[in-house]
């Protein structure tokens, strides 16, 4: 095979009101063919109302080696959660 055909990431919205969600990837020469292939590959049983395709090369991802320094600091910030605050019972649901 001569030239490698570009890779695309596929995002599907199951129905209006929900966000597009990543569901897989595929190869296609351009965005028109990528959309057609995504329809055939990922929506054979009514899984979607809308499709996004994005060139995989266009995605920037965080480094898994830095996962600890990126995400651990949020764990000890318990004051970001509602349960951190004490409210008397008589106030009821808040």
């Amino acid at each position: 095979m001569s030239k490698n055909i570009p890779l695309w990431e596929v995002f599907i919205r199951p129905r209006n009101g929900l966000a597009h969600k990543h569901c897989g990837s595929l190869h296609a020469a351009d965005e028109v063919m990528a959309l057609q292939a995504a329809r055939d590959t990922y929506t054979r049983r009514g899984e979607g109302q809308s499709i996004w395709v994005v060139p995989s090369a266009a995605i920037s991802a965080s480094d898994p080696d830095q996962a600890a320094e990126n995400f651990d600091p949020s764990i000890d910030k318990v004051y970001r959660h509602p349960t951190f605050y004490e409210i008397p019972d008589e106030v009821g649901h808040m």
């Binding site: 095979m1 897989g24 990837s25 590959t41 898994p64």
Partner: protein, 333 residues
């Protein structure tokens, strides 16, 4: 699966003890490994091989069933078979995508299949000679595949597990449509029922071989179990499959061609199960090594498809480049 254990994989690693221990700890904690995570080379190689083999099986598996699309006995059967074969193509694509996240290209995977470096399930090297075979393949081959694939939904490698969840959702239609074909034949004329029995006679043993060699002889099982790629032994899955299948054969009113088959109360921790006769592993290895009835046809047909489609892919790329250049020129104006 169709991925029947790993044929010729090399799972040796030479990373430091600390690195391997840390990785093992993640697996033991049932953490999923994602594509960009650090992983032992052996883990990566094993998965590329297994997922690639699995994908090839889906793609090659389209041939024995595709063989009957034009001859399906009714429009209902034809529509169902077309949908099933299209699904198998889809399964191949999900799996190729999962393998590619490990750093192998689709082109490489295809080349490995075509030049024989990569295997696919030996079951697809058997011919589909009668319409009943389409029923048997759906019932037994897809049935065995489901047995193998359900535990893979919990595989430690995230993209493989996610692909398997999708595949498993689609497989149950495959097995049911096959069983329904056989049910219709078995309720039909004596000749139709005989066609179903004859088909079962030919497929039963090759289907049992789909689970791979007995555990004593399977070299890679231990490491793959430790790495959370394999959850059950080949023999355990085969036993599960037989126990599930025999009652289904009884409903059809046909019999598996095993004179030694008998119920044993002591199997499955006292819940009972079927003991089966000896499997002809020489036949299995013969077919794996390329001497089954259809090995050459399968690869020749696939190569022809790849070659015949080359101009389409080249034209699509040329067209895409032209459009991109035009867009760029317009933006510059």
């Amino acid at each position: 699966m169709y991925s029947q254990g790993l044929i010729g994989s090399d799972s040796s690693t030479d990373e430091t003890v600390e690195f391997l221990a840390a990785f093992q700890a993640r697996i033991d904690a049932e953490e999923k490994i994602e594509p960009n995570d650090a992983m032992p080379e052996g883990y990566r190689r094993t998965l590329i091989r297994q997922i690639g083999q699995h994908a090839h099986s889906e793609i090659i598996g389209m041939q024995p069933e595709g063989n009957w699309i034009t001859r399906a006995p009714s429009l209902r059967r034809k529509a169902a078979l077309l949908a099933k074969v299209q699904d198998e193509g889809g399964h191949g694509l999900y799996l190729y995508s999962a393998a590619e996240t490990l750093g192998v290209s689709r082109e490489d995977l295809t080349d490995q299949l075509l030049d024989g470096r990569a295997k696919y399930s030996s079951i697809f090297n058997y011919p589909t000679l009668s319409w009943a075979d389409i029923g048997t393949v759906g019932w037994l081959v897809d049935g065995a595949a489901i047995m193998n694939q359900i535990p893979l939904c919990r595989c430690s490698f995230g993209p493989y597990a996610r692909a398997m969840i999708r595949v498993c959702k689609e497989e149950s239609f495959h097995q049911r449509q096959g069983y329904e074909i056989l049910l219709t034949l078995c309720k039909g004329s004596a000749a139709q029922k005989e066609m179903a029995q004859e088909s079962l006679n030919r497929w039963w043993w090759p289907v049992l071989m789909m689970f791979g060699p007995s555990d004593g002889e399977s070299v890679h099982s231990d490491q793959n179990t430790k790495w959370g790629i394999k959850r059950f032994s080949n023999d355990a899955l085969r036993q599960k499959f037989i126990d599930a299948t025999i009652p289904q054969a009884k409903v059809l009113g046909i019999e598996v061609p095993d004179p030694d088959l008998k119920w044993d109360d002591s199997l499955n921790d006292g819940r009972g199960g079927y003991v089966h006769g000896p499997i002809d592993w020489d036949e299995f290895w013969r077919v794996v090594k390329g001497h089954g009835a259809m090995n050459r046809d399968r690869i020749r047909n696939y190569k022809k498809t790849v070659d015949d489609g080359a101009w389409v892919r080249e034209a699509a790329m040329a067209h895409a480049e032209k459009r991109a250049a035009r867009k760029l020129a317009m933006a510059a104006e």
